[in-house]
């Protein structure tokens, strides 16, 4: 169950970053540069994944 949740979180992070990157490239043109862009994308991916992990609702133990 925990593994499935992690996979789901990775997928959600991926989708969020994928749909954010085009907008980011338009509003932050430096992100188009191949020196900065990939790092930014992967950083964003990791950041979103961490945020999801932290904010993911947990089952309360009785």
């Amino acid at each position: 169950m925990r593994a499935a949740i992690v996979v789901l979180q990775i997928l959600i992070s991926f989708v969020l970053v994928a749909v954010t990157m085009p907008a980011l490239m338009i509003f932050v043109p430096a992100a188009q540069d191949s020196a900065l862009g990939p790092g930014l994308a992967f950083g964003l991916l990791v950041g979103v994944f961490i945020i999801l992990r932290v904010l993911w609702p947990r089952r309360r133990t009785p």
Binding site: F14, A18, V19, M21, P22, A23, I26, Q32, S34, G37
Partner: protein, 251 residues
């Protein structure tokens, strides 16, 4: 106008009327469909379609003009020099030479006719010049036009009894096979920077498409907005997937 004059006028008119329908078909001007310059000799090769021949290929220089035609299944070769004018017509059954060297019809049914044609062609300066000119052409192993002209040279060599023609055709086939074998089929190698540049282009195009899509959509047109957003999402996800795959470590 008296009666004899009227009759003559009618006969002329009738003759003209009969001859007119036949003239457009026979005198339809051939259309130039291809014109290329041979890289090795610098000679211009022209291909015509229509007219009296199905296909006509023309090439020449100051010494000789060659016109190869396909006319209803027959290969007709016209050779013209300042002193000679020959037409060699080859069909499945016979070869006919006509022109300034006289007329010779050669077929397997007529013993000795092949030798007569061969000796006549050997003496011809137009044939020798044509063979030399066609030997200077090199349109490459992938050119159908080059193959047609080589076939003409081989045909002339064979008809004059020269055995080099078969070897030349064999070499052409070998070159064509090698040219096909070395065709690059591998994927283009891309560096990670190239992957990002390609992804950036696609991502920007995706955003521009979203902007264009939403430009004329009113605030209450929810379905249109949803469609634009869905297209954008799918395209953006696809582009980012492609980028990850492009930069993936491969064995």
């Amino acid at each position: 106008m008296n009666v004899p004059t009227l009759m003559i006028a009618l006969q002329c008119g009738f003759a003209g009327g009969v001859s007119v329908p036949a003239s457009p078909a026979s005198s339809a001007a051939p259309t130039l469909v291809q014109q290329i310059k041979d890289p090795s000799s610098g000679l211009e090769v022209r291909v015509f379609v229509g007219g009296k021949a199905d296909v006509s290929i023309e090439v020449g220089d100051r010494s000789v003009q060659i016109q190869k035609q396909l006319v209803r299944g027959a290969a007709v070769t016209h050779l013209t020099t300042s002193t000679e004018r020959l037409t060699l017509t080859v069909t499945g059954r016979q070869a006919t030479l006509d022109g300034t060297l006289g007329r010779v019809v050669a077929s397997s049914a007529q013993p000795g006719s092949r030798e007569a044609l061969r000796s006549r062609l050997k003496r011809s300066s137009a044939v020798n010049r044509a063979i030399a000119l066609l030997g200077r052409l090199d349109l490459g192993p992938r050119s159908p036009l080059g193959h047609a002209l080589l076939a003409t040279r081989v045909m002339l060599l064979t008809e004059t009894g020269d055995e080099r023609g078969a070897g030349e055709m064999s070499r052409w086939v070998q070159n064509a096979q090698q040219a096909l074998a070395v065709t690059p089929v591998a994927y283009q190698q891309m560096l990670p920077g190239d992957c990002w540049n390609e992804y950036a282009k696609e991502a920007i195009a995706t955003w521009k498409e979203l902007e264009d899509c939403l430009r004329d959509v009113k605030w209450y047109e929810i379905l249109e907005e949803l469609a634009c957003g869905t297209i954008y999402d799918l395209r953006a996800i696809g582009a980012f997937s492609w980028y990850l795959k492009c930069t993936a470590i491969r064995s």
